[in-house]
């Protein structure tokens, strides 16, 4: 018996979410008195996973899985779960993990709870707390099947180092028919994605036009942040849809969310509620966003943001 965790990698390097889900899986394994096995697809050096509680890594080396394929990955993870007699499978909530988890659920006849934010309240019965109503509430959910799948929300648990070493074994599952094949990928490689970002700098209609986004991108560069925007901004075509944060856009669970010139419609707030520290810069002191913010500055973004960028640059230079 073990807790199985799917650890994502890109070009052979494990992603931060891999260490986060491994840390969480170790927490569950401790509650259940068992160990953690990771399953990686074309992963590189897996020794770092040992620092986050993984004892064994099943590494799938398969050229047909170089590009992500939800059905084939789900089939592979299911076979690993059966081989390890896993009672719990932990995945992240990246776009790919959210894609494969429901398919995995059907493969394993396992109940799935997504957007989980904490270790289970109990493992028998298996009860987890997850976000609902787009972060406006939590739902305590019991998974009643023999095998359970947990989708761990981003930044919900953090990294917990533990001592130990991970052994690596090759694993060769039957991947079956791919069904869906990737033709092309359009990914901004030099930019931090909203999903991976610890810091998100977001701007709204208060910026008056797309030509004014230079200072927002500059702040994102200084902070190593992703850029985001409010819904009207993406509707107006000032910024790509992929940057739209909110109920029908992307949810953001960053450590720091900086909102500039965004008034704070309820749908936008729902999308950013899971972020830890929220900073609002707006010239309207009555903007509803101030009620949801931790820190605020009332004033003209065109005056404040350039000043803030200069000071942040100096701060970063002094603190790095």
């Amino acid at each position: 018996m073990s807790v199985l965790v799917y650890t994502e990698s890109e070009n052979g390097d494990f992603k931060k979410t891999a260490f986060e889900v491994a840390s969480y899986a170790k927490g569950i394994a401790d509650m259940m008195g068992t160990s953690v096995t990771a399953v990686a697809v074309n992963g590189g050096d897996a020794s770092a996973l040992g620092n986050y509680g993984v004892e064994k890594v099943l590494n799938i080396k398969n050229d047909s899985l170089t590009a992500f394929n939800a059905a084939a990955y789900a089939k592979s993870i299911a076979q690993a779960a059966k081989a390890e007699d896993a009672k719990v499978v932990v995945v992240s909530q990246s776009a790919n993990a959210k894609y494969l988890a429901p398919l995995l659920s059907i493969e394993l006849e396992a109940g799935y709870a997504s957007n989980v934010v904490a270790l289970p309240e109990s493992v028998a019965p298996f009860k987890v707390k997850r976000t609902a109503f787009t972060n406006k509430a939590f739902n305590n959910t019991e998974i009643t099947t023999a095998i359970k799948i947990v989708g761990l929300g981003k930044n919900a648990y953090g990294l917990k180092e533990s001592t130990g070493a991970a052994t690596t074994e090759e694993f060769n599952p039957e991947v079956g028919d791919l069904g869906v094949t990737v033709q092309s990928v359009d990914k901004a490689t030099d930019k931090v994605s909203i999903a991976d970002a610890e810091v998100v700098v977001s701007a709204g209609r208060g910026l008056k036009g797309p030509e004014n986004w230079g200072m927002i991108e500059e702040m994102a560069d200084i902070l190593g942040a992703a850029t985001a925007c409010s819904k009207p901004v993406s509707d107006l075509g000032w910024r790509p849809h992929g940057e739209h944060v909110g109920q029908t856009g992307k949810p953001v669970a960053a450590n720091l969310y900086i909102a500039i010139g965004i008034s704070g419609a309820i749908q936008h707030l729902a999308g950013i509620n899971a972020s830890k520290i929220k900073v609002v810069i707006n010239n309207d002191p009555e903007a509803p966003f101030f009620k949801a913010a931790d820190y605020g500055m009332v004033g003209d973004a065109f005056e404040i943001v350039p000043q803030l960028n200069e000071k942040l640059k100096a701060f970063k230079a002094a603190n790095n």
Binding site: A95, A101, P102, S105, F133, A137, T181, V279, F290, M297
Partner: protein, 246 residues
């Protein structure tokens, strides 16, 4: 091509979220229910296939009679037939299993569901449905073109997008981008009048079991008041020393 669009009946995006019965049930008092926004993009794309490529479009919902106005709205937008599977929606698996029966009985080529509903945000029905009926599946789909049984779709990935090739039968987890928001349709008077005459078939449920139980709800702890600062120096100091965020 036969298209089925899954319609989730959800609280309007501006609804206040409250709970009753010892925080075990969502409080529907005074709440306006709508078509789940992610489903609405899918329905509009389905209407495009109907008008340009001659497809038929049915809509389905798992729920009690209270969801019928939402299905009627989908009919008013242009769907041909609505199907209500007569049972409360209890979890993603049960909903997927009930819809799977309809898909298998009626032989749909394409099923479009929203990538997630805005109430439970489970994001599992489209994928589970694809797994149950052994169809191809594309999630977070932002573009969909079909030529015969050949499909080209674009999906959103973390940090970008990816274009994939696949074939029918297919299940889509759709979202904004599948059509532009400006192309979403508001039912007009003619559509509403016609919808009254369109079939809304109530189908008895198969009694699919659940895999999860919603035990209780809770709301986030109330937040303290915002700290307003006058200078960027003060803001940086607070973010560094108090919030430990930079």
């Amino acid at each position: 091509m036969k298209i089925l669009v899954c319609i989730s009946h959800v609280p309007d995006t501006t609804s206040k979220i409250n709970f009753t019965e010892g925080d075990t049930k969502f409080d529907t008092a005074g709440v306006q229910f709508v078509i789940n926004p992610n489903d609405e993009f899918g329905l509009t794309r389905a209407m495009w296939f109907k008008e340009k490529q001659g497809a038929s479009v049915d809509v389905v919902n798992v729920g009690g009679p209270e969801t019928e106005p939402t299905l009627r709205k989908a009919l008013a937008i242009g769907a041909d037939t609505a199907i209500r599977i007569n049972t409360p929606a209890l979890d993603g698996y049960q909903v997927a299993k009930e819809i799977a029966k309809v898909v298998q009985d009626e032989g749909y080529d394409l099923v479009i569901a929203g990538r997630e509903s805005i109430d439970y945000n489970g994001g599992m029905v489209p994928g589970m449905l694809a797994g149950l009926i052994d169809a191809n599946f594309v999630n977070t789909c932002i573009s969909l073109d079909i030529d015969g049984t050949t499909v080209t779709a674009t999906r959103e990935i973390d940090g970008g997008k990816e274009t994939v090739a696949t074939s029918l039968p297919l299940v889509i987890g759709g979202q904004k981008g599948l059509v532009e928001e400006s192309d979403l349709r508001i039912p007009n008077m003619r559509g509403i009048m016609m919808a009254r005459k369109k079939p809304l078939n109530v189908v008895e449920a198969t009694g699919a079991t659940t895999e999860t139980v919603s035990a209780s709800f809770e709301k986030p702890a109330p937040k303290g008041a915002v700290k307003l600062v006058d200078s960027v120096d003060e803001l940086i100091d607070l973010l560094h020393n108090e919030a430990k965020a930079i």
